[in-house]
């Protein structure tokens, strides 16, 4: 069983739950940027939650089924897609995703999972580290695995679509919040940040009124995890997503809560982000 890629759209990668447990070797976790949507897609077609799916950025993916395949999409809703509703794609049939009206990343799960060879225990493409399968390209024939569990018998999942306007996410203090003081925290949580076009799977680069440090000096590199709001010398934070570096040398003022990071991964350039003290 396989799926042939006719067109990848702007960026499509294979993703799963990533590579936990190897950060001490400099190997980041990676995995789906919007984990909740990827897991939902897997659940809807009866896959284990760590099965590999396709992460499609701004639609545009076109594939052809080379066997009868049960497929579903979640996350950003694309015209022409079997969204939140598992659908049989007959052998020879094509699936073409239009551009989503809301959200950035669409997850396409196939019953049996995308079965490309794993690298260091995962099929996730880490765009920062250059690990995992190559970015999906036209002409790729993606193998599909054997079903691992019975179908869940769910016809339709009722989940809200990603936000169109501003998103509000909960933020908790980070290890270096004291480098910015109460005024810095107020500035972080009191303004509307704009997602810039420099954003990617590594992180969301935010634009706004720069945060001011209370202290000078360098920070020895320290470990960080998804959700970190790191403040480089420019004063405008980067919200780290799936392919964040394992360690960083700029202070982390706060962390978007784990659940809300997934929603942030659906933000497009130009959208607003408000950080509410959680």
């Amino acid at each position: 069983m396989s799926l042939t890629v006719l067109a990848p759209g702007p960026l499509t990668t294979v993703q799963d739950e990533g590579r936990p447990g190897q950060a001490a070797l400099g190997i980041g976790r990676s995995g789906a940027a919007d984990r909740a949507s990827a897991r939902l897609a897997n659940r809807l077609v009866g896959n284990p939650l760590d099965a590999a799916v396709l992460e499609v950025t701004l639609g545009g993916l076109a594939v052809r089924a080379e066997a009868d395949l049960l497929v579903v999409t979640t996350g950003a809703r694309c015209p022409g897609s079997p969204h939140d509703a598992p659908t049989l794609l007959r052998a020879g049939a094509e699936l073409r995703l239009g551009a989503p009206a809301a959200g950035l990343r669409t997850y396409l799960a196939v019953r049996g999972g995308i079965a490309v060879p794993p690298v260091l225990g995962s099929r996730a493409t880490d765009v920062l580290a250059g690990l995992g399968p190559a970015v999906v390209a036209a002409g790729d024939v993606l193998p599909v695995g054997a079903p691992a569990a019975p179908l869940p018998g769910v016809d339709l999942a009722a989940v809200p679509d990603p936000a169109v306007g501003d998103l509000t996410a909960a933020v908790l203090p980070g290890p270096r919040a004291d480098w910015f003081g109460p005024a810095g925290w107020s500035a972080l949580t009191g303004q509307r940040w704009t997602v810039t076009s420099e954003s990617n799977r590594v992180g969301l680069r935010l634009d706004g009124v720069p945060l001011e440090r209370l202290r000078a000096g360098e920070l020895p590199s320290e470990g960080m995890v998804r959700g970190a709001l790191q403040v480089p010398p420019s004063g405008t934070p980067v919200l780290f997503l799936a392919d964040h570096p394992v360690t960083g040398g700029y202070p982390v003022i706060g962390y978007v809560t784990d659940a809300d990071v997934d929603r942030c991964a659906q933000l497009r350039p130009g959208q607003g982000l408000r950080l509410r003290a959680g």
Binding site: G26, G174, P175, P220, G223, V225, Y255
Partner: protein
């Protein structure tokens, strides 16, 4: 030992220096608290990343406070030997910054074993320290856009080996033919926290 907040899924433990990091890392990596999926040492900290579905930060904090660091863990085990051609583009500059001749720099670099304090920057990149080495080398004012794989380099108190071609601002003193990161090998990463490394001058 100070426990610093790192959001809803992680905890950052700050200690006084690299020796304390290695000792705490050795203890936590050897017996990670329930629900901890990653233990990440760095220069003065150890980050514990949890699976929020399996534990709470309070439980992990309590487990960390109960942990007895394993001092001297880095001195156990065989040393990895890395033959180095000491012909790096910055060898002369780095030696001058240290007030040494290039020959003296090589002698000091090869004289005693190094220890991987922590990894980062790229998969398989280790930050190596040499106890009593007295290294203090500034980064290059202008980083290179391309550092060749296998480059052996210095920055601050650290030495490192570039696992693959990448940008980099460290002072290049030589190169090794040993692949420190190789996906065809198991384990792919030759250098891990606590690994001892001995550099030898390649003939």
């Amino acid at each position: 030992m100070r426990l610093l907040p790192s959001g809803s899924a992680a905890l950052l433990v700050e200690v006084d220096g690299l020796d304390d990091v290695l000792a705490l890392y050795a203890a936590l990596a050897g017996a990670p608290p329930e629900g901890v999926v990653d233990v990440v040492p760095a220069a003065r900290t150890v980050l514990l990343v949890t699976d929020p579905a399996r534990t709470t930060l309070d439980a992990v904090a309590a487990a960390v406070r109960r942990t007895t660091p394993v001092a001297g863990a880095e001195r156990s085990g065989d040393a990895v030997e890395l033959p180095v051609h000491y012909d790096g583009a910055d060898l002369a500059d780095a030696a001058e910054l240290l007030g040494l001749t290039p020959g003296q720099l090589v002698e000091r670099h090869t004289s005693a074993a190094w220890t991987v304090a922590f990894c980062g920057f790229a998969p398989g990149f280790g930050y190596l320290v040499q106890p009593g080495g007295g290294w203090d080398v500034p980064r290059r004012a202008t980083p290179r856009t391309k550092v060749p794989p296998g480059s052996v380099a210095l920055a601050g108190e650290f030495s490192g080996v570039y696992p693959r071609e990448s940008p980099g601002g460290w002072q290049l003193i030589g190169r090794t033919d040993v692949a420190v990161f190789d996906l065809a090998r198991d384990p792919a990463a030759l250098l891990r926290p606590g690994t001892r490394v001995r550099f030898v001058a390649a003939s």
